[in-house]
């Protein structure tokens, strides 16, 4: 693997880390906000559990964000991952000459 390939792998890794950190930030905002709503609900007489609606509504968005952060990949990332697996297995891509 040459410097150019290493730079590409580092860039993809940095992109993935950033995407996951943004999701974790989203998760922390979600938890803090919704916990506050539950506390407000409890302090105001614990009547009808209205806090469930923002938890569920926003939860759908949160799950979608988690899928993007952890499960989906750009086409470039898929190609790089395949190359990493090839390198780990000691194989060369088609057309490669040592």
């Amino acid at each position: 693997m040459d410097d150019f390939a290493r730079a590409a792998f580092r860039e993809a890794e940095a992109k993935q880390i950033l995407r996951r950190r943004v999701f974790l930030l989203h998760l922390s905002v979600y938890l803090t906000t919704n916990l506050s709503l539950v506390v407000i609900w409890a302090l105001t007489g614990a009547g009808y559990p209205w806090f469930v609606f923002p938890i569920l509504g926003w939860g759908i968005g949160l799950v979608a964000h988690a899928v993007v952060a952890y499960l989906l990949s750009d086409p470039e990332e898929i190609v790089l991952r395949r190359e990493q697996q090839r390198l780990a297995a000691g194989q060369d891509p088609p057309g490669h000459q040592a």
């Binding site: 150019f4 390939a5 590409a8 860039e11 470039e76 790089l80 088609p94 057309g95 490669h96």
Partner: protein, 151 residues
């Protein structure tokens, strides 16, 4: 990566660049692209390398290890494809030049100023340092007043 390239255009532009530059390593290919397209697009290994791998997979490009560097060149099929796609790089470059340039920021103006100061590494005595600090303080106040008016 910028959206300057439409679907499949980066690969076509890489074939074009390899046709122009001949066998080259990744950084040279990236430099060829950057020179042709201009400053409005900042190429990165994270975008160019996967495209080169994809071209290798399809048999249009062949990679060879030379002195610890991977050198890419067009195969016969790649030369044929480059001939068919000839002009892609020029078309992207024309589009890039037509796009309005990003407006400069205060930071970029200041960076340009600092980079343009002659004798940046020269040592200064205490008296000169105080005089320079006074000039810069005055400039900062003026700039902040100007920015304050705009916002």
């Amino acid at each position: 990566m910028s959206r300057l390239f439409r679907r499949g255009e980066l690969k076509a532009a890489l074939l074009d660049a390899l046709d122009v530059a001949g066998p080259s390593n990744g950084y040279t290919i990236m430099q060829t692209l950057a020179e042709q397209i201009g400053e409005s697009w900042q190429p990165s290994p994270g975008a160019v390398y996967p495209a080169l791998l994809a071209l290798e997979d399809t048999g249009l490009v062949r990679a060879t290890d030379r002195n610890g560097s991977r050198v890419y060149e067009l195969t016969a099929a790649g030369r044929q494809a480059a001939a068919n796609l000839h002009g892609t790089l020029a078309a992207v470059a024309t589009r890039a030049r037509a796009a309005p340039p990003a407006p400069p920021t205060l930071g970029s103006v200041l960076d340009d100023f600092v980079a343009g100061v002659a004798g940046r590494n020269r040592a200064v005595d205490d008296e000169s340092r105080q005089a320079i600090a006074a000039i810069l303080d005055g400039a900062r106040n003026n700039i902040e007043r100007l920015i304050g008016k705009e916002t």
